[in-house]
C-alpha cells in the first residue's frame, strides 16, 4: 500500500518502503556488476589503439571512397553463390525442421520419452551454434566452398525454424483437432487436416524470415572459406584494398535491403 496515514494527514508515495528499498538494491547491484565488467574490458584494451581509432577510421574511410566500381563485375558470381547458399540452405533446413518440429511438439509427438527429447536436443544444438562456427567445422570436413556454406546455413536454420515451428504447433487451437478426432480420424489425419492448415501461414512467415536472415549470414561465411562474397571480402581486407572493400560492402548492403523487402512483402501477403 503506498497510502499511509501519518498524524491524520494522508500521504502517498509511489513505492512503499520495502519495494523502494528492493529496487534501489537491485540498481546498486546492477551498477556494481557493470563497473566490474568495464574494468575487465579496460584491462584488456590497448587504450592508445582506441584513441588512435578516429584517425585510423578517417584514413580507412578516405581509402574506401571512391569505391572501385569496376570490381563490381567480379562480384556477380560470388553474390549468386551467396544467394544460393542462403536459399538452398533454407530449403534443406525446412525439409529437416518440419519432422523435427512435429516430434518436438507436445501435442503431436509420438513418444514423449524418446522422440521428444531427441528432437528437442537436435533443435537446441543446432540453434546454439552460430552459422559461422558451423561453417568452421564444415570447411574442415567438406573442404572450402559453397557446399560447406550451404550445409552450415542449413544446420543453423534447422534449429531456428524447428523451435518456432514446434511452438506454433503447440499453440494451435485444439478445438478443431478434437472435432476431427471425434470423427474417428487417425493421428496422421488429424495432423494433416487440423494442424497443418493452422500453422501454414505461420510456417511460411518463419521460413521467409529465416531466409532473409540467412542471406545476411551467407555473406560472411566466406570469411572462413565457405564460399560466397565473404571470400572476396576476406581477401580484400587482408590486402588492405579498401576501395574494393567498400564496393563489396555496398553490394552486401544492397542485397540485404532487397532481401528484406522481398521477405517483408511475402510475409505481408501470407498473413
Amino acid at each position: 500500500m503506498s497510502v499511509a496515514s501519518v498524524n491524520g494527514k494522508r500521504e502517498w508515495q509511489r513505492y512503499d518502503g520495502k519495494q523502494g528499498l528492493l529496487r534501489w538494491v537491485l540498481w546498486l547491484i546492477g551498477a556494481a556488476v557493470f563497473v566490474w565488467c568495464w574494468q575487465k574490458i579496460s584491462a584488456g584494451t590497448e587504450w592508445s589503439f582506441v584513441l588512435d581509432a578516429p584517425e585510423q577510421g578517417a584514413d580507412i574511410l578516405g581509402r574506401m571512397v571512391p569505391p572501385e566500381w569496376s570490381y563490381a563485375r567480379v562480384l556477380l558470381r560470388p553474390l549468386w553463390d551467396t544467394l544460393n547458399m542462403a536459399t538452398l540452405g533454407t530449403m534443406i533446413a525446412v525439409v529437416l525442421a518440419v519432422p523435427l518440429a512435429f516430434l518436438a511438439a507436445q501435442n503431436t509427438t509420438p513418444s514423449a520419452e524418446f522422440a521428444r527429447p531427441f528432437a528437442l536436443f537436435c533443435i537446441v544444438a543446432s540453434r546454439s551454434i552460430n552459422s559461422l562456427i558451423w561453417a568452421l567445422v564444415l570447411v574442415m570436413i567438406l573442404g572450402p566452398g559453397v557446399l560447406a556454406g550451404t550445409v552450415a546455413i542449413a544446420l543453423r536454420s534447422v534449429g531456428f525454424i524447428g523451435k518456432l515451428l514446434y511452438e506454433a504447433i503447440e499453440e494451435t487451437d485444439h478445438r478443431p483437432l478434437d472435432a476431427i478426432a471425434s470423427t474417428g480420424a487417425s493421428s496422421g489425419q488429424i495432423i494433416s487436416y487440423g494442424v497443418v492448415p493452422q500453422i501454414m501461414p505461420v510456417f511460411a512467415g518463419i521460413a521467409v524470415f529465416r531466409w532473409d536472415i540467412n542471406i545476411r549470414e551467407s555473406t560472411i561465411l566466406g570469411l572462413v572459406g565457405a564460399g560466397g562474397i565473404g571470400l572476396q571480402l576476406n581477401s580484400s581486407i587482408g590486402n588492405l584494398d579498401w576501395s574494393r572493400v567498400s564496393v563489396i560492402l555496398l553490394a552486401i548492403f544492397a542485397t540485404v535491403i532487397v532481401s528484406e523487402w522481398v521477405s517483408a512483402s511475402i510475409r505481408k501477403a501470407v498473413t
Binding site: 503506498s2 494522508r10 509511489r14
Partner: protein, 291 residues
C-alpha cells in the same frame, strides 16, 4: 507576462472566439469556418452537431492541440493563438480537458493518473520520482473523495470500469485548478445510466468551482439537461446559439438533417415537407419561419 497575471486576478476571464478558422491545406477541407462567439465566465455551454461538424476540432483549437489556421482565441486579455510554446504550456495548465476515451495512462495507478494533472506545475525531477508536493497530494485525495473513488487510489487504471475511468479523468482535469474546462464527448463510451451520472458530476463540479465549461456532446437530451446554453454546429459553422428550451424539432432538423434525432422532431418535420418532382424536400424557409 499577461498569462501568469491570471493567477493573481481572482475573477475568471471570459473566452472569446473570433473568426476561428481551421482549413486542412492538403484536402482543401474547411473544418471550421470563421467561428465567433463569447463565453461568459462560469457559463456551461454544450456543443452539439452531427459528426464531422467540427465540434472536436473546435474544442482542440481552443487549447491548440490542433493549430487554427486563422482567428483569435481571446481568453481574458491573452490571445492563446499568439502564444509561443513555453507560454502556451503555462496557459494550458489552467485549461482542463476531459476526453471521450478517458486518455488515462493504463498501466499507472489512479493516484498517479490524477497527479498527472499537476505536471505543468512541477519540474521534471519531481514528476520522475513522483515526489509531488504534499498539498497536491492532499488535493488529489480530496478530489478522489469527491468523485467517489477513494478506495481505488492504488488500483491500476485499466482495471476500472468506463464510468470510473472517466471520473479519474475528471479528477485529473480538476487537479490543474483550471479556469476553463474543455470536455470532448465525455459520455460517448459510456452506457446511458453512467452517462447521466458523469454529466451530473461534471455539472455539479463546474457550479461548485464556478468553472467556465464547453462540453462537446452528441446526446441532445443530455445536453439540454445539463447545459445552460447550447451552440449547434454544422459543417464548421454555428447554426444555433441559445438556451436549451429553444432547441426544438425544427432547429434540430436544421442542425442534424432529416436523420439522427428523436421521433418527435421527425413528426414535426412532416409539416414542412413538400413533394417536388416526386422527391420529398424540406422547405427550409418555411421551417425558419420566413414563409
Amino acid at each position: 507576462m499577461a498569462v501568469w497575471r491570471l493567477h493573481l486576478l481572482k475573477f475568471m476571464p471570459s473566452l472569446h472566439l473570433e473568426k476561428l478558422t481551421k482549413r486542412y491545406e492538403r484536402t482543401g477541407y474547411d473544418a471550421l469556418k470563421s467561428i465567433s462567439f463569447t463565453v461568459e465566465p462560469g457559463q456551461i455551454i454544450a456543443l452539439i452537431g452531427p459528426s464531422g461538424a467540427g465540434k472536436s476540432t473546435l474544442i482542440r483549437c481552443i487549447n491548440r492541440l490542433v493549430e487554427p489556421t486563422s482567428g483569435k482565441v481571446q481568453w481574458g486579455d491573452v490571445d492563446l493563438v499568439s502564444l509561443n510554446s513555453g507560454q502556451l504550456r503555462r496557459a494550458r495548465r489552467k485549461i482542463g480537458m476531459i476526453f471521450q476515451e478517458f486518455a488515462l495512462v493504463d498501466r499507472l495507478s489512479v493516484m498517479e493518473n490524477v497527479l498527472s494533472g499537476r505536471l505543468g506545475y512541477v519540474n521534471f525531477w519531481q514528476s520522475l520520482t513522483r515526489r509531488f508536493p504534499q498539498k497536491d497530494i492532499d488535493e488529489a485525495f480530496r478530489l478522489l473523495d469527491r468523485v467517489g473513488l477513494s478506495e481505488f487510489v492504488d488500483k491500476r487504471a485499466d482495471k476500472l470500469s468506463g464510468g470510473q475511468r472517466q471520473r479519474v479523468g475528471i479528477a485529473r482535469a480538476l487537479m490543474q485548478d483550471p479556469d476553463l474546462l474543455l470536455v470532448d464527448e465525455p459520455t460517448a463510451s459510456l452506457d446511458p445510466k453512467t452517462s447521466r451520472q458523469i454529466m451530473r458530476l461534471i455539472g455539479e463540479l463546474c457550479r461548485e468551482r464556478k468553472l467556465t465549461a464547453i462540453i462537446n456532446i452528441h446526446d441532445v437530451p443530455l445536453a439540454k439537461m445539463f447545459a445552460e446554453r447550447i451552440i449547434g454546429l454544422k459543417d464548421g459553422a454555428v447554426v444555433f446559439d441559445g438556451p436549451p428550451d429553444q432547441l426544438a424539432g425544427e432547429v434540430l432538423t436544421r442542425i442534424y438533417g432529416e436523420e439522427d434525432w428523436e421521433e418527435a422532431g421527425q413528426r414535426a418535420l412532416m409539416k414542412f415537407v413538400q413533394v417536388g418532382d416526386g422527391v420529398p424536400v424540406i422547405d427550409n424557409d418555411r421551417m425558419a419561419g420566413l414563409r
